[in-house]
Amino acid sequence: MINWNNFLVFAIPTILSWVLASVIFTFSKKNKLGLFFSIFGLFIFGSFIVLLWVNLGRPPMRTMGETRLLYSFFLVATGLLSYLKWRYKWLVSYSLVMAMVFVFINILKPEIHSKNLMPALQSIWFVPHVTAYILSYSILGAATIVGVKQLFQFNKKEDAELMDFTDNLVYIGFGLLMLGMLMGAVWAKAAWGHYWSWDPKETWAFITAAAYLFYIHLRLSNKYRKIALWYLVFAFIMLMITWKGVNYLPSAKNSIHVYTD
């Protein structure tokens, strides 16, 4: 049976193939080989998630460590998918490196996992709600990377295509973010009697959504590109606070959304 004790067995080959892939993407033109190693690593990593899921008897989406697993997975998956469409090699490398950081955190600070789901979490909305959020976080993470790259080269060689790519990622990420939120609302109605109760995590989720809404509307005109890009970094910080930071805020002592470790 696969549990967290076996994580290293999967994590090490994953990291090796992802390091190899990043090196190949960065220093050579053998893109197919790079792609192969990225996918190979993703496959091993994905197997761990699936086996862990089977062993836990529930989707691995409850604790910080588990959401980090999914985050790494989807980050690389997004990087690869966007490579197939946009052919940005550096984006794959970035997403691989980002994903590996999370894998390392899980190696160094694995978190203990309760097998038990409290009754409120036993709902058909649980899986789609969390998946949509995690997926959207990975895509918005990718958007931030692309945006920052654009920002750094802004005065030298600004890239209109890159700007469009950023926007498209934000659109997709935001769509998922809102879907996650709406499913959460429908679920909350069934579980707690109200679809929105301004619980601290909900408040920050609102801030995150509003922040990306701001970006989307600011980008309707092409005028304030640089402000928009800086702003994207701010939006991502809001996202990180929603995801990780809320647990530490004094306002969140009684939040129903705080992860149990």
Binding site: F174, G175, M178, A190, W192, I207, S221, S251
Partner: protein, 452 residues
């Protein structure tokens, strides 16, 4: 004379697409006179929007100082529908006025963006300040007075939401004047959000939430409820609780430091879930084997336990713990105890004990009869995530006496009356379809100049 750069500027500002062509030309003629337009000269853009939005905020602060927090009870039906529809009609009428600069400003991005920014700022303050509900404290501090500690019912927040709904309305009405069906995503997102905000915002006042505590097996149905101020009220709805069941997960075992109570290993404590399939584990330097697990046990006169399924029974396990280093062996019963029985640790050394944690609830359900004023009686099983609906009331499983757990003598229900809920769901539904469209529409409008 139309020069190219003015056109470009205008189209970059989105003016071209928001206005019909004649208006666009008038606006443009205005602009041709001077390159940089002084503030307050039409068409209004960001500066004006930011000023006005700040004005809205200050008005809100003033109202907050003079009137205290906003009372949603003041806008109960039919006040809310009157205010809501009036503002909607106002927007539509404004849109019919030809060449209204004011309407174009109201429906354009700069105002929306400024309003969203103001919402973000207020919600960030809200996210950092612990929120309180109910009455104002005895000695309010600055945060209380400004409404930061009950943000969603502070005047500035309510006003910002009010104007956001109006701006959203204006954006939709403006686009509907000359619908472009290619922009289906715009319509779905904005209309869905509008319906949602309308129903959730204006409807908030009409929602009633009460808690009812019902005793198990009491032949007289309960109809008294508590509101959030703990006042007792009578409802035209009664509940009889025939049975309350609680299922629990098996408890977990942990080795704790006897003085601090901290589980080992300190950096990543291990809680071993007792499971019929897995009866051995090791924690730190200790091997643990579970010989027998009884979910409902009573303690015997010695330190052993026996299966007795009755109220007051608690889980217990017979375990052997072996120290890997010195092969010392400890065998005995552990139990987490409950309201009726003491807990039982297995002492290992001076420093460490093996203990059992209290089991977590897996499912709890109430078997009820619901009786309405019209004399209708229905039986139902109500549990978390499975509410029961009767005559615009939703009945939710709320809680039970966690101290006595399975033996809880009562079950509590939350009764929610929300006449707007279907409109809220309609909004959520339309909005979700719009969100799906976000995946493939992209920001692909080629209306923007490539570079400035």
């Amino acid at each position: 004379m139309i020069n190219k750069s003015t056109l470009l500027t205008l189209s970059q500002q989105g003016v071209f697409f928001k206005t019909s062509l004649p208006t666009f030309l008038i606006v443009k003629m205005n602009l041709i006179q001077q390159n940089k337009k002084p503030i307050w000269q039409t068409p209004w853009q960001y500066s004006e929007s930011i000023f006005i939005v700040l004005g809205i905020y200050l008005v809100g602060v003033a109202l907050q100082l003079f009137l205290g927090t906003f009372k949603f009870s003041n806008i109960v039906w039919p006040v809310n529908i009157i205010v809501g529809l009036t503002s909607l009609v106002f927007v539509v009428l404004l849109s019919l006025k030809r060449k209204s600069h004011f309407f174009y400003w109201l429906s354009a991005a700069p105002l929306s963006i400024s309003l969203i920014a103001l919402l973000i700022m207020q919600t960030i303050i809200m996210g950092l300040t612990p929120q309180i509900s109910g009455q104002l404290t005895e000695r309010p501090d600055v945060f209380d007075i400004l409404g930061f500690t009950r943000m969603t019912s502070s005047w500035p927040f309510v006003l910002t939401m009010f104007f956001t709904i109006i701006a959203l309305c204006a954006a939709i009405v403006n686009r509907l004047k000359t619908p472009i069906w290619k922009d289906y995503a715009f319509y779905l997102n904005h209309v869905g959000l509008l319906v949602f905000l309308f129903a959730a915002g204006y409807g908030a006042a009409d929602m009633k939430r009460y808690v009812m505590y019902v005793e198990v097996g009491n032949e007289i149905p309960e109809w008294r409820v508590y509101n959030d101020k703990k006042d007792v009220l009578d409802l035209p709805l009664a509940i009889k609780l025939n049975d309350f069941v609680l299922e629990e997960y098996a408890p977990k075992l942990a080795i704790i430091h006897r003085e601090t109570g901290k589980a080992i290993p300190y950096e990543a404590p291990v809680y071993f879930q007792i499971d019929s399939l897995k009866l051995r584990t090791s924690i730190g330097d200790w091997d643990i084997e579970v010989h027998e697990f009884i979910a409902e046990a009573m303690r015997e006169s010695d330190k052993s336990y026996r299966k007795v399924p009755m109220p007051g029974a608690c889980p217990a396990a017979n375990v052997t713990v072996i120290n890997k280093k010195n092969k010392q062996k400890y065998t005995g019963w552990v139990s987490c105890g409950n309201f009726a029985q003491l807990y039982m640790p297995l002492t290992l050394t001076n420093d460490y004990s093996l203990v059992m944690t209290r089991p977590e609830a897996k499912r709890f359900a109430s078997y009820v009869d619901v009786i309405t004023a019209s004399g209708q009686q229905e039986s139902a099983v109500i549990e978390v995530n499975k509410p029961f609906t009767v005559e615009s009331w939703n009945i939710y499983q709320y809680g039970y006496d966690t101290d006595t757990g399975k033996a809880s003598s009562y079950s509590s229900f939350e009764l929610v009356y929300d006449p707007w809920i279907n409109l809220v769901y309609a909004g959520i539904f339309i909005f979700s379809i719009g969100c799906f469209c976000m995946f493939w529409i992209g920001n692909n409008k080629r209306r923007k100049g490539k570079n400035d």
